[in-house]
Amino acid sequence: MTTDASRGAEAPPDLVQLLTPEGERVEHPDYDIDLTPEEVRSLYRDLVLVRRIDLEAVALQRQGELGIWASLLGQEAAQIGSGRALTDADMAFPTYREHGVAWCRDVDPVKLLGLFRGVNHGGWDPKEHNFHLYTIVIGSQTLHAVGYAMGIQRDDANAATIVYFGDGATSQGDVNESFIWASVFNAPIVFFCQNNQWAISEPLERQTRIPLYRRASGFGFPGIRVDGNDVFACLAVTRKALEAARTGQGPTLVEAFTYRMGAHTTTDDPTRYRVASELEAWKLKDPIERVKAYLFKNEHADQEFFDSVAAEADQLGADLRRRCLALPDPGPLAIFDHVYSEPHALMEQERAQFAAYLEGFQA
């Protein structure tokens, strides 16, 4: 039943690529991008730093400091490329894996840890960063994003919305409803699907028998497949799609063809369901190595630069670790906070009773 055999090493033919795994710039008839060396270095820095944040979080989980962690390893280019395409006025709706996008939206990485450490369910103010809270129920954020985009239309604002979801999510009713809404209302939105080939243990063939980007054609808007490990291409494709959205051309589906290099989450064991050779093949397409190669080859950066980014990453990691451990545990009565925005008798009653109960232990 597999009709899309491209999960392995070969790049599928319909892929937008601007930078090869070997670090060569290639041209594409519909997409191009002009980046200064400064800008490329900046992207490189982003990629390295978010990988470092991710690595540190995995380590923190191993050591029992986080309950769980969903690693972005391998998906850095998809996230940084798309995240850097956003303007401040744009709004992003993530899943639980968009740590790279969060970085682009200036969310302090330690704030991402709160939910994985179990001190809260979401630790930042979405309005402050135009970056919504992580959403765990697969696909449900796609409808929020379309609604938000409909709000942008009503405000006549020069902005667009981007919503992230995985290959598995494309099977959810909500995601397909969001395609319908976006298309019918011509909403200013980019659907950014990170096809990392797996939904936990299920390969792409359990969700579709044709390439995912083609789903959009059934709903009457364009779909594009981009090399998700190519930060240039992700940036170029997302930028164009966002601009189309902002200028009244409606939605676009971007399928970022990438790979989940790690486990689904730290509690997952991928050796139960996938072969090592697949991982090896994808290692050759690493999203960071190719930018490094490009910078080197074109003499846009020297060893000193790479060392300084590495040092910055180490610093960031250490800092994140320190601040993670310092995250305060909420007090028991926080259970009742923010359930309602306005006073609510039952909350007050239960809070008071529980406070009295707790005091009973101290007495």
Partner: protein
């Protein structure tokens, strides 16, 4: 004071809310040109335009999901679910998102979304058009759940619900849509708070607790009982979550007996919570267990059977009688 039907009162209330606040939107299936299958939104699209009164694609999850998004952008969407039985495709968006997102955000997000649900039976409809799904929502923390029972309340409560910064599930008793009464549209001063119950008839022997369509049934039962010399107090709960405990408990402590009346199946219905809570709070005052007169614990039957399925005056009085059997 103007005399108007309950559906017209809702319509006027929404119109007022839309005039007062340009962020208020109406969304749902057939709410625009048609004005809704019950005409509750009649004329609003004509007057406020298609951007504010949105005929949506036919998908309830989509309605609530996009309403959440609009609320995140600062709008105040009022969603119509066409019939009670069609709220379930939206269950996930309501239960895991609408109800929980404010807490998820530690208060950074407010979701002033109203979900209007015409509810209940008694209109001779086919399957899924006569349900009373309130218990699914009273069990869902983060939601406010209210039900109106008459035109005056309909007019005020819909405006209060729209003004609330919390998500509100708003039940409308569809079989009372066409019943008329006086509505004071001139001032908001005297409005009962949205969370408050109202004693609609005073009495001393038994407290009848109802909401939505059953309030009228209880008033009729109380009138009938009065002829037999029994004095029934009738409380219109109006809000199911939060519950106006003082109003309920004060009454039951006085009467010593309580009967809860709702159309929903008794088993695990909202009446269970009410009965359990009353018993906890008023244990020493109770002369009899709190009894429940409700729909049977079956799916809503075909309409030829609904007169038997739904609690009516006789069933209410039977429960009242039974409380005197203790």
């Amino acid at each position: 004071m103007t005399t108007m039907s309950l559906s017209k009162a809702l319509n006027e209330g929404m119109r007022k809310a839309m005039e007062d606040d340009p962020k208020v939107l109406i969304m749902g299936e057939d709410v625009g040109k048609l004005g809704g299958v019950f005409r509750v939104t009649d004329g609003l699209q004509k007057d406020f335009g298609e951007d504010r009164v949105i005929d949506t694609p036919l998908a309830e999850s989509g309605i609530i999901g996009t309403a959440i998004g609009l609320a995140l952008r600062g709008y105040r969407p009022v969603c119509e679910i066409q019939f009670d039985g069609f709220v379930f495709p939206a269950a996930d968006q309501i239960i895991t998102q609408l109800a929980k997102m404010p807490m998820r955000s530690l208060g950074a997000i407010k979701l002033p979304v109203v979900v209007r649900i015409p509810c209940g039976g008694g209109i001779g409809a086919v399957e899924h058009h006569s349900e009373s799904p309130e218990a699914y929502f009273t069990h869902t923390a983060g939601l406010r759940v209210v039900a109106c029972s008459n035109p005056a309340d309909a007019y005020t409560m819909i405006q209060q619900a729209i003004r609330s910064d919390d998500p509100v599930i708003f039940f409308e008793p569809k079989r009372r849509y066409w019943e008329k009464a006086d509505v004071d549209t001139s001032s908001a001063d005297w409005w009962t708070p949205l969370h408050a119950a109202r004693t609609v008839r005073q009495g001393s022997d038994v407290t009848l607790l109802a909401y939505g369509p059953m309030v009228k049934t209880c008033l009729e039962a109380a009138a009938a009982a009065a002829e037999d010399g029994r004095s029934l107090e009738v409380i219109d709960l109006r809000s199911l979550n939060p519950l106006d405990e003082p109003a309920v408990m004060d009454s039951v402590r006085r009467t010593g007996r309580a009967v809860i009346v709702h159309e929903a199946p008794v088993n695990s219905g909202f009446g269970a919570e009410l009965a359990a809570r009353i018993t906890e709070r008023c244990f020493y005052h109770l002369e009899a267990p709190v009894l429940r007169a409700g729909g049977f614990s079956t799916p809503y039957p075909p309409s030829k059977l609904e007169e038997h399925y739904l609690p009516d005056l006789d069933r209410v009085l039977d429960a009242v009688d039974r409380t005197f059997g203790y």
